[in-house]
C-alpha cells in the first residue's frame, strides 16, 4: 500500500513536471509581451528594458525554466502582469468556490446519473429505459454554455425561482452545479446502466435472489457496489473535464472561482495566471485520479494496490 502510494506519487510528480515543461514552453510561444502590459503606453524603451530585466526575460530559456521550476517547487506561482499581485494567493482565494462548485457538480451528476442508470437498467429495453437514455444523450449533447443560458433563462429569468447568477448561498449553487453536472449525469446514467446490466448478469446476483431477497435489495446491496466500480475511475477523470467546464460555467453564472480567473487571464493573456491555474488544475486532476485509485480497493477488495 505504502509502496504503491509512493510509486503513484512519483508518477504524479513526473506528470506534473511534464505539465510544467509544456506549460512553460507554450506560454513562451504566446505572442503577448508582458513588458508592454506592465510598462504602459507612456513608457520609454529604457524603462521597458528595465522591466524586462526585472522579469528575467532577458535570460536564456533554460535558465528561465529552471528559475520558474525552482519557484514553483517552493509554491511560488509568480506574479500576475495584469493584476499586479502574486498568483498563488490569488488562486488560493478563488479555489474554494471552484471546489465547492465541482463538488456540487459531482454530487449532482451522481444524483442524476446513478438513479437514472439504475432505473434504466431495471427497465431494460422498455419505454422507460429508452426515454431515460435519450434524455441522457440529450444532456451529453448540450454544450455547457447553451445549457447554462437555458437554465438561467428558464429558472432565473422566466420563473424567478433561483438567483440570476452570483455566489454566496445554496440557491446560487444550484444552477451552475446542475449545468456542470447534467452532462456528467448523462454519461453516468449510461455507464451505470451498462455496468448495472453487466453486474445483474452475474451469478452472485442469482445467488442473492436464491436467498430470497427482494429485488430492490438485490440491486442496491449486491448490484450497486459492484456496478459502481467503473464509475469511480470516471469521477477521478471528471476533475479534469470540469476544469475546462468551470471556465465556461463560472462565466455564465458569475461564479468567482478559478475558471473565471482563467477566462479573464486568457482574455488579457496574463501568462503567470494562465500558468498558475494550469499547474493547479493539473495537480487537482492528478490528485483526483490518485484518490479514485485509492478508493477503488475500498469498493472492490479484489483490487490490490501495488
Amino acid at each position: 500500500m505504502l509502496g504503491y502510494l509512493a510509486r503513484r506519487l512519483a508518477a504524479s510528480v513526473l506528470i506534473l513536471l511534464g505539465v510544467s515543461v509544456v506549460t512553460f514552453g507554450l506560454t513562451y510561444i504566446i505572442p503577448a509581451d508582458p513588458v508592454a502590459m506592465i510598462a504602459g503606453r507612456n513608457s520609454t524603451p529604457a524603462v521597458r528594458e528595465q522591466i524586462r530585466h526585472q522579469l528575467g526575460l532577458d535570460r536564456p530559456l533554460p535558465e528561465r525554466y529552471a528559475n520558474y521550476l525552482g519557484r514553483l517547487v517552493q509554491g511560488d506561482l509568480g506574479r500576475s502582469y495584469a493584476r499586479k499581485s502574486d498568483v498563488g494567493p490569488l488562486i488560493a482565494s478563488r479555489l474554494p468556490p471552484t471546489l465547492l462548485l465541482m463538488l456540487a457538480a459531482i454530487v449532482a451528476e451522481l444524483l442524476i446519473g446513478l438513479p437514472a442508470g439504475i432505473y434504466a437498467a431495471s427497465r431494460r429495453g422498455r419505454l422507460g429505459d429508452k426515454i431515460a437514455m435519450t434524455l441522457s444523450f440529450a444532456s451529453v449533447s448540450t454544450p455547457h454554455f447553451v445549457l447554462g443560458l437555458t437554465l438561467l433563462y428558464l429558472f432565473a429569468y422566466l420563473l424567478s425561482w433561483l438567483p440570476l447568477g452570483g455566489y454566496g448561498s445554496f440557491s446560487h449553487l444550484i444552477l451552475p452545479a446542475l449545468t456542470l453536472g447534467l452532462a456528467g449525469g448523462g454519461w453516468y446514467s449510461r455507464m451505470m446502466r451498462s455496468s448495472m446490466i453487466e453486474v445483474l448478469r452475474n451469478d452472485y446476483i442469482r445467488t442473492a435472489r436464491a436467498k430470497g431477497m427482494p429485488e430492490w435489495r438485490v440491486i442496491l446491496k449486491h448490484g450497486l457496489r459492484n456496478a459502481f466500480l467503473p464509475i469511480i475511475a470516471m469521477i477521478g477523470l471528471d476533475v479534469g473535464i470540469f476544469m475546462s467546464g468551470v471556465v465556461v460555467v463560472e462565466n455564465v453564472f458569475g461564479w468567482p472561482g478559478i475558471g473565471q480567473l482563467m477566462w479573464q487571464a486568457i482574455q488579457s493573456l496574463d501568462i503567470p495566471i494562465i500558468m498558475g491555474v494550469t499547474t493547479v488544475a493539473a495537480c487537482f486532476i492528478v490528485l483526483g485520479n490518485l484518490i479514485a485509485d485509492m478508493i477503488a480497493p475500498l469498493i472492490d477488495p479484489r483490487i490490490r494496490l501495488r
Binding site: 508518477a11 513526473l14 506528470i15 506534473l16 511534464g18 505539465v19 509544456v22 506549460t23 507554450l26 506560454t27 510561444i29 504566446i30 505572442p31 429508452k130 437514455m133 435519450t134 444523450f137 440529450a138 451529453v140 449533447s141 448540450t142 454544450p143 455547457h144 454554455f145 447553451v146 443560458l149 437555458t150 438561467l152 433563462y153 429569468y157 477523470l237 479534469g240 476544469m243 475546462s244 471556465v247 465556461v248 482563467m262 486568457i266 482574455q267 493573456l269 494562465i274 491555474v277 494550469t278 488544475a281 493539473a282 486532476i285 492528478v286 485520479n289
Partner: protein, 283 residues
C-alpha cells in the same frame, strides 16, 4: 451489409437520427442554393433604428444577428463549418486516439507506458492553453480549430481504447493468432481493431458535441473560425449576452448543435448495436 442494415433499421430512433444528419449535411452542401441571402451581408435595415437585431419574420426567417445579417442563411452556411469540424477534426482525433490506445494496449512495455504517460500528461492539461499556443504559431482559422480539436480530443478515446485493448489482448484468440505465427501488425489490424470499431464509433459520435463546443470557445478567443465565416458555436458566443432580449440568437443555433450532436449520438448507439451481432456473447 444488408444484414447489417436490417439490424440497424430495428432501432427506429437511430434511423430518424440518420435522416436528420442527412438533412443537415444536404443543407450544408446546398447552403448556397437554399440560403435566401449572403451570410455575410450586413443589412442596414437588418437592425432596428436603435441597433437591435430583428426577431424572426417573413423576411428573416430566423431573425437577424447583431450585425444585421440573416440568421437563417448563417445557420445554413455555419452547418458547413460545424459539420466539417465535427467530422474531419473529430475524425482525426479518433484516428490518433484509437491508434495510440491500440498500440499502447497491445504492445505494452516501454512504448505502451510512454504513450500512456503522455496521455496522462495531456489529460492534465487545459485544451484552451494548447489552442492559444498553436494559434500563435499558425494563422488562426479553420485549420487551427481542426488541429486543436484533433490534438485535444484524442486523449479520452485513447484511454478507453487502451483499456479495451488490454482486456481484448487477454483473449485466447489473440494467443491463438500468436501461436499461428501472426505478427504484431496483423494482430492489431485483423484481430483487435475489428472488435474496437463499436467503441470507436460511439466515441466518435459522442465527440461531436464536445467538438462544436470547443470550436465555439476557440472562435471566441480569436483562435477559431475567423469572422465573418459563420460557425454555430461562434454564432452563440457572439450573441451570448442577447439571450434574454433576443433569445433566438442563442437558442436557434444552440438547438442546431443539440439536434446534430444528439443525432450523431443516437446513430452511434444504433451502429454499435448493429455492429455487434454476437451481443457480447461469451467471455
Amino acid at each position: 451489409m444488408i444484414d447489417f442494415w436490417n439490424r440497424f433499421r430495428r432501432d427506429r430512433l437511430a434511423v430518424y437520427s440518420l435522416g436528420v444528419i442527412a438533412l443537415f449535411v444536404s443543407a450544408a452542401i446546398l447552403a448556397s442554393t437554399f440560403a435566401p441571402y449572403d451570410p455575410s451581408e450586413q443589412f442596414f435595415d437588418g437592425l432596428t433604428l436603435e441597433g437591435s437585431p430583428l426577431p424572426p419574420s417573413g423576411r428573416f426567417w430566423f431573425g437577424t444577428d447583431t450585425n444585421g445579417r440573416d440568421q437563417f442563411s448563417r445557420l445554413l452556411y455555419g452547418a458547413q463549418t460545424s459539420l466539417l469540424i465535427g467530422i474531419v477534426a473529430n475524425g482525426i482525433a479518433v484516428f490518433i486516439g484509437a491508434g495510440l490506445g491500440l498500440v499502447a494496449g497491445y504492445v505494452r512495455g516501454l512504448v505502451g507506458a510512454a504513450i500512456m504517460r503522455f496521455t496522462d500528461l495531456m489529460m492534465a492539461f487545459p485544451p484552451l492553453l494548447l489552442a492559444i499556443a498553436l494559434a500563435a504559431i499558425l494563422k488562426p482559422g479553420l485549420n487551427i480549430v481542426i488541429l486543436v480539436i484533433a490534438l485535444v480530443n484524442w486523449v479520452q478515446i485513447a484511454r478507453v481504447i487502451y483499456a479495451e485493448t488490454v482486456a481484448l489482448s487477454e483473449r485466447e484468440y489473440i494467443e491463438a493468432a500468436r501461436a499461428m505465427g501472426a505478427g504484431t501488425g496483423r494482430i492489431l489490424l485483423r484481430h483487435l481493431l475489428p472488435h474496437l470499431v463499436p467503441t470507436v464509433i460511439v466515441y466518435a459520435t459522442l465527440g461531436i458535441a464536445t467538438t462544436v463546443l470547443l470550436e465555439a470557445t476557440l472562435s471566441f478567443l480569436g483562435r477559431g473560425v475567423q469572422p465573418p465565416t459563420p460557425a454555430w458555436g461562434m454564432m452563440i458566443f457572439e450573441s451570448q449576452s442577447y439571450f434574454l432580449n433576443a433569445p433566438w440568437l442563442v437558442f436557434i443555433p444552440g438547438a442546431a448543435i443539440l439536434i446534430l450532436a444528439l443525432s450523431f449520438n443516437l446513430v452511434g448507439d444504433g451502429l454499435r448495436d448493429a455492429l455487434d451481432p454476437t451481443q457480447r456473447g461469451r467471455s
